[in-house]
Amino acid sequence: MAMMKITRDALPALYARIAAEQSLILPVKTAGQTNFGLWNETADVDLYALKTVKSAKDAFFPQSETLYTCTTEDKKITITPEKLTDEQFVVFGIKACDVQGIKVLDKVFLSAPVDSFYAARRAHGTIVAMACSAPSESCFCHAFGIDPTEPADADVVIWPVGDTLCWKAMTEKGEALTALAGDLLTAADAADETALENAKAFTKSVMQKLPYANLTLEGWGADKTDEKFNSPVWDDLYKGCLACGTCTFVCPTCQCYDIKDYNTGKGVQRYRCWDSCMYSDFTMMAHGNNRNSQMQRFRQRFMHKLVYFPTNNDGMFSCVGCGRCVDKCPASLNIVKVIRAFQKAEKGETK
């Protein structure tokens, strides 16, 4: 498909046109913070924000979702499974790192046994990815082989270039959306292509100047369990951890959830909600918790992202370098510090 373009001014019209047909999820600013949310006429769209607080994960794997509802009438219980998504929707403006995050979730939820709720959303969702123009100090997607200027595996990719956005459909779904956009899109010309190439080059140059430009994953990856698991480095690293769930809940790849019941008075709604392996009651069982110290819980999170996941998924890390945890950890701990602490220790350097 040929490169198209749309002016920034035309975006509201585009949103309205899409939203008339499908749900449109995009970065919306509420009370000073930008998160993915449903578009409506009054929504304060913040498409150009580099990072939403939470990733776009909610669009396919919401923080809380009902699985089924039990209603009691007299002594009879009726179980009504929650309907799977059967309507098309568009997630607009996902960055390359978050698109990669969705690929990580696919590995978990789309391999057997398939998670039908997730699968239904993936089947009905159209992803419009947006290339980065100005990555910031906490970005390190390059370490995972992600090019922020070329989001992979999206249905449509858009590139902001000055007051225009270049638009390219990548899949059939993307073409359908392009058709829906209709006359709001015009064909891009050679000048646009040149401007786009310049913009990409600029973004790459920014990437190289950022503090995490030289970050590598040396020493991490599949089959590193034995050398990492018992390392004394963990014991030193975890001390500041508050055991909160911030890193988990802003992460585009964390996929653990808890299943709980909500008493509605007329019965029970069984729902699942994100859970965090940092929480002391994570996977709590009758006998207690299989990880009963914060060090163990802290270790679990990073080992999972950097060792266990690649071990089980052909080397794919379950971190995409979005840097949200770097920005948001209340205790200023983050995955980069963990990666580097081990690299230093393994090189025999002192901290």
């Binding site: 909500y262 509605t264 008075g265 007329k266 709604q269």
Partner: protein, 148 residues
Amino acid sequence: MPLNEKTGEFTPKIVAFCCNWCSYAGADLAGSSRLAYPAEVKIIRVPCSCRVNPMFILRAFEKGADGVILCGCHPGDCHYSTGNYYARRRMTLLFSMLDYIGVEKGRTRVEWVSAAEGVKFSTTMNEFAAKIHELGPNVRLEDLRCKN
């Protein structure tokens, strides 16, 4: 279901926590004196007003109550001597917080009713129910999951 299925009128759910020693007995006296108040009011017996946790009150709203009232012995007359003094501070602060987050004033109330004040119990409940009728259904503190 706040609306009466037959009449379509708003029939609020009102939870009244009553201490065992004064207010519950006051409610009994209202009953034996045949002093009517709306059937919307349902009483939960607690040993003392100080047994009422703010979480119970929020819980009631969550589950669809439209008004919550707490009745206890008059200050100075608590069966446990000091319970209602603690309840008084707790409820004052809680109600102030509810007001602060935009819950309508008057959806919560504390009234001291002695075992001898059947009339006061009945008057209070009538007044409170009238207030809740005036305020309409609680929408600011309910959990939508309990709606259907």
